[in-house]
Amino acid sequence: MQTRITKLLEIEYPVIQGGMAWVANAALAANVSKAGGIGFIGAANAPAEWVRSEIRRAKEITDKPIGVNVMLLSEHVDEVAQVVAEEGVKAVTTGAGNPAKYMKQWKEARIRVIPVVASVAMARMMERAGADAIVAEGMESGGHIGEQTTMSLLPQVVDAVSVPVIGAGGIGDGRGMAAALMLGAEAVQLGTRFIVAKESTVSQAYKDRVIGAKDIDSVVTGRSTGHPVRSLRNTMTRQYLEMEKNNVSFEELEHLTLGALRKAVVDGDVAMGTVMAGQIAGMIKKEQTCAEIIQEIVQEAKETIKKCSIFAEDSCGNEAEHA
């Protein structure tokens, strides 16, 4: 399956693993890349030297292209931006802001810059600033989210820019991938599905919570603070939502979630930790290797598109089949 994104990133399949904080380390990213997609190490709030050692570790596992997701609100962002340029990776995705000030530095290091956007205007400004591609991420995704859904945001971003667009948020299998391609995406980014990859080093409790999740387990906390976060409901989210209803202070809310993602990912405390996951958690049923996940998604996407081609015909070919 060839698209402008597979050519741009020199990868086999247009499948990207999102750079999830705490979850997306060298082991996960490198194995996604090894399997023909491209993995992104999540720099999140980590210090620059952690990012450097993860990039090096990933390169020991595979010589395929690797990316880093740079979280622009991190206090270490300047150093992380520098380390990424020094170490050299294929691509950088950016979250939580405007990466314009690092654009020149990264492009000089021949890194493809792919901002994650949550609006059409932002996509247009990023393209003008030199972005090589855009990730349009809808609010079905896990973690920090915007307001628009993938279904509405993705085609609007596709219409607004001429660089290739990657669809993200709410994509968990080949049907979702096919739908994103229909909306004009040239690759998909998945996060939640890769949390439960065999190569993913998150706590078993975290994986089990994602695998056991039902559709309605997905909740959004923090709307009142202006920084909404999607996760799977648990003791912590129930307390948080109750506190939000009672208008407790921002500081108290912050206190409840301080270090809570680490608590879930590393310590396996899925009651009081933040179990970030997207809305598609409900459709994830088992652990698989990165290669199995990618093969299955791409194969299913192709089959879905073929199956749907019948809708392009004026008369239904096989009446019996649709009776």
Partner: protein, 77 residues
């Protein structure tokens, strides 16, 4: 220019034009988030046929900052 700009800002940010003052800070006083600022810059660019690069965005904190930027880039005041 300020009158016309006030109108654009008020329209983009859904606030009353009389609340838009030169010293108004976009985030704190006019409740604009980062996505609002992208929209606003786009609208200003269309109106004044000028390009505001995205790396300038974080320097534009108040209405006056935007006025100054436009003036310095040849937009008639």
């Amino acid at each position: 220019m300020l009158e016309k700009m006030k109108e654009i800002i008020a329209g983009q940010l859904n606030v009353n034009a009389e609340d838009v003052k030169p010293e108004s800070r976009f985030k704190e006083d006019l409740n604009a988030d980062s996505l609002d600022l992208f929209e606003l810059v786009m609208a200003l660019e269309d109106e004044y046929s000028v390009e505001i690069p995205s790396e300038e965005l974080e320097k534009l904190l108040t209405v006056q900052d935007v006025c100054d930027y436009l003036k310095n880039h040849g937009v008639e005041a």
